[in-house]
Structures are given as structure tokens and as C-alpha cells.
Amino acid sequence: MVTRLDEKNYFNLLADKVREIAIRPVKLMEVCGTHTMAIGKAGIRRVLPPEVELISGPGCPVCVTADSDIDAFMRLAENEQVILATYGDMVRVPGTKGSLAELKAQGADVRVVYSALEALAFARSEAAREVIFLGVGFETTAPATAHAIKIAKHESLSNFSVYNLHKTVPEPLRVLASDKTTKIDGFILPGHVSVIIGEYPYYFLAEEFGAAGAIAGFEPPEIMAAILKLVKDVNAGVPTISNLYRKVVRPGGNVVAQELLDEIFAHTDAEWRGLGTIPDSGLAIRQEYGAFDAAKKFNIERRSVKLHPGCRCGDILKGIIKPHQCPLFNGRCTPENPIGPCMVSSEGTCAAYYLYREN
């Protein structure tokens, strides 16, 4: 058993070693929003030497949702026939006419769920109404949505559908790795996405772009170990992809989950806040399951809108600026009164920096 005391000791020892060996500037990106939060909470930026810079990446599903998609699901929620089920983080995202929470206060039926599977239960018990689940998230939440769609087909539930915004992680990493303006030396790779996809989908980072990668857990020493490994790789000039979260991440990932995703979804281009349209980075519901695709069922068109003028969330997601460089940060934009999605989500970079007073 690794005890709390071990963890604290090792955190300090690992941090000491990072300070000892950091000899030149190293730019690392923590891809995942849950890592951003954990890094803030553990005060990791404060103990790193000045040579090691940690920038926060696009791994917060709420934050990367495009304005056009927010606008589209808000329109769905306005329909009186509709029960819109979604994860808690989505209900406070500001849209053109306020957030889902505000629509709910005006009478819309918006329900917070922990899983797509819960939304199915509403569809069974309220047959006269349409239950639409907002499918957001990466490879970690997508299997639950896929499973719900599969069950809905099996049970011939005609009043269940998904407004599907699921996205995948490796494709935006390719965009970030090939960006010459923010040259990233290494990536702290998302632990739970990796549970599903495994190690192999990241190999291109090292092979094609010379960037190192380390799959990391979420405890402070686990994150610090990943940072140390990345700094070592960069120093040695041998970028590798390492798995430091072996207790749950198998090299090939979760094959059952991969097969389920493949059965229900096909890769498609998707729009990301800040990063634009990224080829093959979205999961679209396959033709055979088209009856459960809310966008098709309700003929929802995505129109181009700009919801938050002044919000720099997009630049933050690419690691170009830090939250305090946004003029609205901690003034007009706070977690109580968020202007942009990076402040709304409990995994958002602006929210993390606000909460843990980071610079």
C-alpha cells in the first residue's frame, strides 16, 4: 500500500529532483482539465523551478464546446416537449439567451445526470416526452453514451436521442504539437482518457514531432513524477511516451470500450473552441443508429454565432495566454458570474487559476 505519508515524501523528493536537473527552459502542457485542477490544488506551479513552465491545454470538454453547439442545444432545450439531460457542468455555460440553468428557471425541463444511462430511465418513464441527452466529453464519457444508444435501440425507445458533441484527444494534440508558435516539449497525458485508448495513440507525438509524453494519475506525486520524467526525456534529447499510471492504464487501453465506441460512432471533423475545425476529432453517431441522433431527428442546424465577445478562452486552451492576461479575469468574469466556458467548468483553466490564485 502506498500511504499518504509515502505520497507526501515522494512528492517532495520528486520535486527536489526536478529542481536539481532543470537546466534549460522546458515547456510542458497538462492536457487534461482534471490535471489542471489537481496541479492548482497541490500548488505544483509554485514548487517548480523557473525553467519548467506548465501550460494548460484543451482537455476540458465544456471549455472546448463551440459557440455554435452551445447555441444549438439551447434551442433544443426551449422545446416544451423536450427533457434535456446533461452533466452538471453544462448547465451554467452562458449562451445567447442565458444558460440552461436560466432556461430551467423559466420553465424548461433541464435535468442534471451523472451518466447517459440515467437519461434512459427518464425516456422509459415519460414516454410522451422526448428525452435528449447532451453527449459531451472525451473518450472517458463517450462509452456511456454509446452504451445508452445501444440499449435504446435494443429496447426500441423512440423518445430518446443524443445531441452528440463527443470529441477525442489525440487529434487536437497533433494540432498543438505541430503549432510552431507554442513549441511544447512534453505533454502530461490524461490518465482517464488513456484508460480507454491506451498508450499507442500518443506515439506519433514522439515519432513525428519529437515531443515527450507521460500518462499520469491525479495525485500530487503522480503528477510530479510525470513532470520529472518529461524533464529527463527533454534533457536527454530522447522523447518517449511513458505510462506512469499503470494501475489503471493498460498499454492497449480498454478494448471492450474501444469496440463499443467503434460500433456506435464514426470519426468525423469537429469544431473546437480556440482550435477551430479539427479533422476526425469528433465522434458522430453512425447511420444505423441515426434514429437516436437529436441533430438529425430535430433537424438542428449549426449556425455560426459568437457568444462571448472579449473572452479569450480560445487562446487559453491553446496555451498562448494565461487566464490573468484576459482583461475580464477576476473582474467581470468569476466562477459566480462566468463570461466564458473556461470559467464555468469545474475543470476549466480560468476556474482553476481563480480558485487556486495562480499566476
Partner: protein, 76 residues
């Protein structure tokens, strides 16, 4: 929505579709379809109502050796 929660499997339903897990004293029913190898007593990682991985205690303990190697290994 992205938080993964470790928990212990207390029962597995027929056909291994669902199971009950103990999350810090609360019993919750979750989908077990993604962890066909999971058994009662195993610790699993829960995400969005699904168990997505069986936690390997050997690998968890091996982390200490990995950290040692990172701290004391000769490669700088």
C-alpha cells in the same frame, strides 16, 4: 463530469451487465460491461456510471519503485 472515482465491487448482476460498488460507504449500481474480468472484491475506477478499469494493486505498489528509479536513476 471527468472525475474518476475508485470503488470496490460488492456484487455483480447476472450476465455481468451491472454491479454494485461501494464508493466511500455509499452503494451505487454501475454498468460493468466494460470490465468483463472484474470480480467481487476488486477495486474499479468509475466514470460516468460505468466501471472502466480494474485497479491493479501490484501496479499501484510498483509506482514506488518507478518513483525511486526516477529520483535515483543515473539518467539525468
Amino acid at each position: 463530469m471527468c472525475l474518476g472515482v475508485p470503488s470496490k465491487v460488492v456484487s455483480i448482476g447476472e450476465g455481468h451487465f451491472t454491479g454494485e460498488v461501494d464508493v466511500m460507504g455509499n452503494i451505487k449500481r454501475v454498468s460493468m460491461i466494460l470490465v468483463p474480468g472484474a470480480q467481487v472484491g476488486d477495486r474499479v475506477l468509475i466514470h460516468a456510471g460505468q466501471a472502466i478499469s480494474v485497479i491493479s494493486d501490484e501496479e499501484a505498489d510498483a509506482s514506488l519503485a518507478v518513483w525511486e528509479e526516477l529520483i535515483h536513476g543515473y539518467q539525468a
